[in-house]
Amino acid sequence: MLVLEGVDVFYGRIQALHGLNLHVDDGEIVTLIGCNGAGKSTTLRTISGLLRPRRGGVTFDGKDLAALPPNRIVQLGLSHVPEGRRIFTNLTVRENLDMGAYLVRDPKARRERLDRVFALFPRLEERMDQPGGTLSGGEQQMLAIGRALMSRPRMLLLDEPSLGIAPILVKEIFDEIARINREEGTTILLVEQNANLALHRATRGYVLETGRIVLEDDTKNLLQNPQVKEAYLG
């Protein structure tokens, strides 16, 4: 479904990704783990079009993404929940969700998406008219995911959904992520620093170190891998 081949990405003169190869198949939950600064967020930002690869190809269902602006990539069914949630704090919860459905013109379809998101995250419905900035960290993460789901994506890119969130809410959020994958067939690429959590939820995983993929395997093997255990599972 999603294929990255030999992707090089630069920030000015500093190379952030070195010949990255990665693929995610239809219906999978794939995780990308690694330390701070390994290039995980860069990878997602490149897929969603916020960054452009200098070399290499990014394709989604065979369509080349490397030349498309982010708004066209969303249209193809790929939705990115950025690191740090990046919700619109001055817009209400409802308006944030409306923005997620910016490209959905049909009011009936928007209503259906909204009901679906409220079913997944009932707290959002309770807080519908509140400015996004007044939500707790966990609620903001739910809003960020809900917002991304409003465009009915076929694939979701999640960047550190557990960051800065109370442990009890982390479990709830990950349960909902699994449910989105199971019930809607949404393919998921999950970036996490919390490797333990990510490897238990995903089917396959990649380990990223200083811009290079160093390991790729089914998560049950990665969980047993001594290198991974040493470096990421502590």
């Binding site: 708004n71 939705s79 919700i87 619109f88 917002r147």
Partner: protein, 365 residues
């Protein structure tokens, strides 16, 4: 006193119209668009051409309908034209430097302002021109009694180059008798109709700008709060990368913001020049500066702030010199009104740098 207050509010409303554009553009791309005053000037010139070449001066219809129609036409042309100029300017001058940093964009804005001023000088000449006033046309046959004011007629003259130009000539002085002899003379000179200038009542122009602001404010509120484009504007203003991830085409949103800001500046341009009776390529400079001050006073980035800041500045510019003159007997106070406006800016920057309605925003790194 009341008269000065109303004058101040009307001037303030014009400042508010221009300040809205500054604040909206700043809100969305953090650029102080110094060329905004030139959009205002461009609108004023477009209104000028509509009024002079199509409107009030030519239509031999009973008043006041043609006056009203021609002002509507002038305002429409001015607002749409200024909006279009803003969109084009954004596309060719600002978009290429959008990611180059704020100083680069600011310098670009100053340059664009100078370029537009000079293009206007090239196109329309540097001299101030009288802004068209409405005219009342009278059939020569209907003239009777004594002339209430100077009467004019349009005379076609062939120049030495063979070009036919129309000159406006005074044919009857105010107070002269309009008898058979006068009518015969006018007909002999080929004037089927003559006209007199109808000075616009200041009450009307003041009323118009205040009413226009009163009507526009809720429309703008609705556009920004309720429409899809308005919500997208607020989203882009807060976090443009996140907005792009929603599928928002930020180039379109930014173009719309420029259009909306210049659209109202065009209305302000016509209103300003009608009130002050002239237009020139530098017309946009001082009101543009003042409106920028108004936007800062109100809190740049805040739409209600721009309106409030405009009204506060306009009123201050009128009432403070009035108080100084009446209270302290300082006759020259009104000559210092611009200095008073800039002093107000400095005071605001010292004591409340975020403006009346502005909020402190931490810079994103």
């Amino acid at each position: 006193m009341l008269d000065y207050l109303l004058n101040g509010l009307a001037l303030g409303a014009i400042f508010a119209f221009i300040a809205l554009g500054y604040t909206m553009v700043y809100g969305i791309i953090k650029l102080i668009n110094f060329a905004h005053g030139e959009f205002f000037m461009f609108g004023a010139f477009l209104g000028f051409f509509v009024l002079r070449d199509l409107g009030v001066e030519r239509l031999p219809l009973p008043q006041p309908l043609p006056i009203l129609l021609s002002y509507v036409a002038a305002l429409t042309a001015a607002s749409l034209g200024a909006g279009a100029l803003a969109v084009v300017t954004e596309r060719i001058a600002y978009r290429p430097v959008r990611r180059a940093g704020r100083i680069a964009a600011l310098i670009t804005a100053v340059c664009v302002s100078l370029i537009l001023q000079n293009l206007a000088i090239k196109a329309w000449g540097a001299k101030p021109q009288a802004y068209p006033q409405p005219r009342e046309w009278i059939d020569t046959d209907d003239l009777a009694g004594a002339a209430p004011a100077n009467l004019y007629a349009v005379k076609r003259v062939e120049t030495t180059g063979g070009e036919v130009v129309e000159n406006e000539v005074r044919v009857v002085e105010a107070g002269a008798a309009l008898d058979d002899a006068t009518r015969a003379r006018l007909r002999a000179e080929g004037h089927e109709r003559v006209y007199r200038q109808v000075p616009l009542d200041r009450g009307w122009t003041r009323g118009f700008v205040l009413l226009a602001l009163l009507l526009w404010a809720p429309v703008l509120w609705f556009l920004v709060k309720r429409t899809r484009m308005g919500k997208a504007m607020r989203a882009v203003s807060e976090d443009s990368d996140a907005a792009r991830l929603m599928g928002i085409d930020i180039n379109r949103v930014i173009a719309w913001t420029f259009f909306l800001g210049a659209f109202v500046a065009g209305v302000g341009g016509v209103a300003y020049c009608v009130s002050y009776g002239k237009v020139e390529p530098l017309t946009g400079f001082l009101p543009g500066m003042k409106a920028f001050i108004a936007a800062v006073i109100g809190g740049i980035g805040s739409i209600p702030g721009a309106i409030l800041g405009g009204l506060v500045l306009g009123t201050a510019e009128s009432l403070i010199p009035y108080a100084l003159r009446e209270g302290l007997g300082w006759e020259a106070a009104f000559a210092w009104k611009d200095a008073i406006a800039f002093a107000l800016l400095i005071l605001i920057l010292v004591f409340r740098p975020t403006g009346i309605l502005g909020r402190a925003v931490r810079e994103k790194v």
